[in-house]
Symmetry: D2
Subunit: 433 residues, 4 copies
């Protein structure tokens, strides 16, 4: 008989780990026997299960165990991770282990090592000398890299449902526009305020904003610019369109040729975005255009003025694109991944392409807020196994304006309560607001 014991620990019932494990075994045509089961008697107690997995043959057993590991099961015997070198650049050994976006450990030389730069659909490369391991994408793999193969010596820690109440939903992907929006905006504002405060004190964490051109078209450009100025954006991810229309607005008062103040197309407006691109081409880059006084306001302006780094990633539908756009998509991905490190929250604003790209690069424990007017887009973005995701089906234009209003109110309140003042005394920089 082909069988093996596995163990599950933690809040395995209400985080749905136990039901998922039993389900998976049955779905794959296996069987199980519960050997031991200790349920947490109170809500804070962890539970424990020891389960005997029964399969038809060795290969079947292997396949099942491989799946169970990604769900958080531990194989009771302690095994070492298996490694194989890459034979060529960008070529993996045949049975490479493909990563999830959950926290992952490998057992190497008798120790559990946490894998760095976690993201889904990558491979694990081990550096034996440094006793380090990290996730790489296939294009980053170099000849000789030691790649984890098979599924031995790997432990995946899927996110557990938070014990306390949370703004974020735990792995739920349904999105509806019929929610009380002002309530939700207030809560997001509060969360962002706290993250900014932590960031100001520690220089750690912070917020990544991923934004599409709808932000400009819907009249929320000034709101996003203000958000940057107020210190709520530590990195901006976007593309050619947002930057171009932001600068077009600065130069011509239009977005894609439409006057934002009247909502009407202006004559010659259809070429404004090309003229905006040409101005930046002349200056050399957005930064230079800001410094030369060509660009005087807006999202990109505030990024330059407030030293907020940005990645403008290219796409085949770009006009131009601007000189600042990274036209090679692999290079853009690498840059984005670099900048995501350690961030606490990602705010995705009306861009499916850039948001999915960001989602692909994120570990599952980063808080994600996704705002779009289309429920389908929100559902798609939420459905990536993030444990802390909040989808808001709403109009991004009015959303951002209301969000800034709430943040201003919040800052006023805390000022009133002396909290912000205290922060000032601590002499942590607040001047730039």
């Amino acid at each position: 008989m082909f069988m093996r014991e596995i163990e599950l620990r933690g809040h395995i019932i209400d985080s749905l780990i136990l039901p998922k494990v039993l389900d998976k075994i049955l779905d794959m045509g296996g069987d199980y026997k519960i050997l031991r089961f200790e349920i947490g008697k109170r809500k804070t107690d962890p539970s424990y299960a020891k389960i005997l997995v029964i399969a038809k043959d060795e290969n079947h057993l292997d396949k099942i165990l491989c799946e169970l590991k990604d769900l958080g099961a531990e194989i009771s015997e302690i095994e070492e991770v298996e490694l194989k070198p890459a034979e060529r650049d960008m070529v993996l050994p045949d049975n490479f282990y493909s990563t999830t976006n959950h926290k992952t450990f490998i057992r190497f030389k008798g120790k559990w090592i946490e894998v760095e730069n976690q993201k889904m659909d990558g491979v694990i490369v081990v550096y034996p000398e440094e006793m380090r391991a990290e996730v790489k994408t296939i294009r980053q793999v170099k000849k000789g890299d030691l790649i984890v193969v098979g599924h031995k010596g790997i432990r995946v820690i899927p996110p557990e449902k938070p014990r306390e109440e949370s703004l974020f939903e735990f792995m739920k992907s349904e999105a509806s526009s019929e929610k009380p929006k002002i309530t939700i905006i207030k809560k997001i504002a509060k969360e962002m305020y706290e993250i900014r405060e932590r960031y100001r004190k520690s220089g750690k964490g912070g917020i990544v904003v991923v934004a599409g051109p709808a932000v400009i078209h819907t009249g929320a450009r000034d709101a996003l610019a203000k958000l940057i100025k107020m210190g709520y954006v530590q990195v901006l991810f976007s593309g050619n369109a947002l930057a171009t229309h932001d600068i077009e607005f600065d130069l011509f008062g239009t977005s894609l040729g439409v006057d934002i103040r009247t909502g009407k197309s202006v004559p010659g407006g259809h070429s404004h975005h090309l003229r905006a691109i040409n101005e930046i081409m002349k200056a050399g880059s957005i930064k230079e255009a800001v410094e030369k006084g060509v660009v005087k306001s807006g999202i990109m302006y505030e990024c330059v003025k407030n030293n907020v780094p940005y990645v403008l990633a290219g796409s085949i539908r770009d006009d131009g694109p601007l000189p600042d756009v990274i036209t090679d998509v692999v290079e853009a991905q690498n840059k984005m991944r670099e900048m995501l490190k350690g961030k606490e929250m990602v705010l995705m604003l009306s861009t499916m392409l850039h948001s999915i790209a960001t989602g692909n690069l994120l570990p599952s424990w980063v808080k994600t807020v996704c705002v779009d007017i289309s429920p389908a887009v929100v559902t798609k973005l939420m459905d990536r196994g993030s444990s802390q995701a909040l989808g808001v089906v709403t109009d991004v234009g009015i959303f951002l304006i209301k969000l800034v209003e709430e943040l201003e109110k919040l800052e006023g309140e805390y000022e009133g309560e002396g909290v912000v003042k205290e922060r000032n005394r601590d002499n942590i920089k607040v001047k730039e607001r």
Copy 2:
């Protein structure tokens, strides 16, 4: 040869009447010769065209002329309208004329009579004694009613493109969420303010609001209630769900069991709407519930308190429904049509069913604003041949809150300028606006 002269007058080029007429003739396999053409030399001048329509046979000619009339063509010879009595209740003579939603005249006893109660897909009933004609629906037709048949003696006046700039679009059905919303909301507020002022002065015109339950779920209940209180709603069209959840909120603080202030379901909440219905059943009606102090706030409360009439039309998905709901749909249509008479604007808020029903009953010259988060719904509602329609793809919750803010600002401004104060003193009207 089978031919006939027709004439076109007015702004027939930029209102697209001439292109449509020529198109229709060709599409139907006919041919034409332009006999005379005088184009308006300046933008305010009307144009004139005399066109010879050429067909294959008498029947073909008839069919083409019939279509051209609905596009605004006049047949040059003066003909009398043809009438036939209905043989039974709800049964029409075979070749009855089916109405458009445009202004229509009939030639009867040598005079042009304007048809009353215009709506699309009805029939024209003539009262010879009174020299009157009106549109009836098939179910309203009584035995002996004199129904217009064929297409002789009928003149349709399709809407012309307004000369001056307008908030409303002229027969355009595209809907996009990527528009500057605050700009649009400001303009709608201004339009509504002016309509309300006219209504206050003359008792004529006014605004119909058609609203769905998303208004409550998205947290805009208080905003709509305030709009009613401020005098911007002359009639409310809705269904069982809006009224039920409005009252549910008053009684339990929830909408479909969700606490609007926290966005979370409350225990037992799934039965709240039934409990709300039961309270109204006990009181006898919404009005009685308000008067007895059972219901103390909200949309329906403000309707009762401000004498704003409402039609709650039934649908097969209703729970309950409330005693105020008109469960017979034909009766509800009749009531709605009665209340629409003379209204200047219809504001449709997140309800496809009630908005389409209202659109079916409207003549083409009433201003229509349609707000929904789904572009498909907005497009569908705009696509009904209204000459003055504005589609806003946005979140109805935030929209209403912002609209009320803008209206308050506007009232404040006018107050500040003394305009509104004057109005108050004069106790009626103010010229300078």
Copy 3:
């Protein structure tokens, strides 16, 4: 201390009953202690849990228990159900019990009685003499009806996840268009074939089709007519539009004035639907129009010819409507509920209004297939707690044509295999195909 023991039985882990119960207790601010827990050692073994629920006060405990019951918890002490008479028609006693759509039992005079006519958002009326109980809607309640109040003596049996593989998803509401459609259509065909065979043998079960006018507009009218003729439809639910356009097509070859064969509008076509309604008004009803030879083909024709009952429910957006349309929505609901009794499957085709209305009337154990081109509609329809639901995001026109092709193939196959022939020998009627 305020506490009470509850019990859970069955496949409470993988049907997610246990996680939901623990979750609910914590969400409501309660606490628990697991007193006993026996997990099914193998996949077919049921599990058992005895849990002590701990609350802050009596009222809090009551609220929690009330919620847990609807999730399937049994209160260990045996209690009798509590009843209160309705004081007036359509008025309920204050703390009436509001039903779920799950199978429900009440403890009455020492016995567990299964409640009949289960649907959600109703109340339970008990007939003591007959030892019977049934669900009624609020409008059906008569003065003196004995209504279940509170939550004592009630047992709800939520659906368990089926042990064997199934076409239908177990309580999952996500809908995607990116699925292999032909595969899914084949499976639906197989399920329908089996239901029809069972229905033919036993006269029990059968399929309800709920269809909207998109069926006609997308060119699938003949396919649905054929489905009826082939015996796959035991009841048809629809509205005025489907029936009108179906008859319009029979009389004029158009649907809403569009020639289905060319996809172009025909001259005068916009009045065809009114002319179709007028023909039925003249005949008196659809049945009479079929019998008089006025209507010679199509969906309604096949219903009449094959004695398939239909409910055409009115809505406020109806033109006409046809004499067969039930214009009172409460009467239409009652008729629909009557006809749903005992049916095995509901096939919902491109109509949100009629599908939601049907969903409201259904118990949770009826199989539901929902077909619509909009993912949002499919998600909304799936999200009603049905335990056996399948959402297909696709084009209803091509779907129906392919479904009929698959059913014909299937019948051919079984004929070939002698299965259908055998059935013939058994003398079960198959002639009418």
Copy 4:
């Protein structure tokens, strides 16, 4: 007074050129006087208008004329085009002329020269020695290139409404799912058949297919592969996802880990797409993988086997990507534009990113068929000023399967009629079918 005469010629009424011109003048605050107007007396006769445009000042006049030119107006006096050299690579002279996607001529050295490689949002570069002009994108501009500036000496020929009936709609952007699909598919099949026949005889024209991964997920992979084999695809545009999942299916029978035959996820399936990419990395390219026998079927296989060129354009959401993917988006655009030259039709299948990118590169006279299940996507794609566009809101999976069925039927028919046989005699290659 600032005024200028313009002329309009052609079918300026029903192609809406005259109404648009008058509209634009008024919208821009100008005025006009009709100096001469000759309307085509019969449907085939062109019309003619001479219009005096009146503006406030020289600058205003300039702006208006600039807009009118893009609508097809000719300025009566004959002017030479104005040129200015680019001062640096990728930097344009300030008032460069930004192109439309309509056919364009420039007046250079007394001659009208047709501009090559027309696309929207480019600039015109003139080669005086060769008396040639072509459209370049801003990134293609080299120092010293002679760029057209201002708006003198430019003639734009907007598309006219076709006289005969056509499958394609003339500049209409509305999209509806409620159309008779089988009818439309038959017509598309006929159009494609004729284009292929023309292509086979002349080697000119042909069809470009732009396809997204939904083709695979919905089960239409084999249908698209067959379309390629049958000779209906001359170029394929797609991205990493389609190619990866196509090869994944060949190697593992799954698409994104889902078994297409059962519609269920398979164990370990989530890593299949990475494994597929790795196989191609090992082989070096898709072509080599096909030649080495690693890939044995599918879309990419048929492309290689039938010498159908493809462009796989990169995007930031790519995993991998495959070695064949062009990761630089500017390079990918250039390659796509090269391949679009002279093509007669573009078939866009369920990919917004690649379809918009292709639309950006297309002149307005290429026939475009756009298939997507979302009406919003179809509307967006249709809304690019193409004169011959057809939007089909349907399920791409079933669409492709039905399309291939229709094409096979069509080929059978023509075979039967001897048409295809004749073609065989002419010795034009038909073996591969």
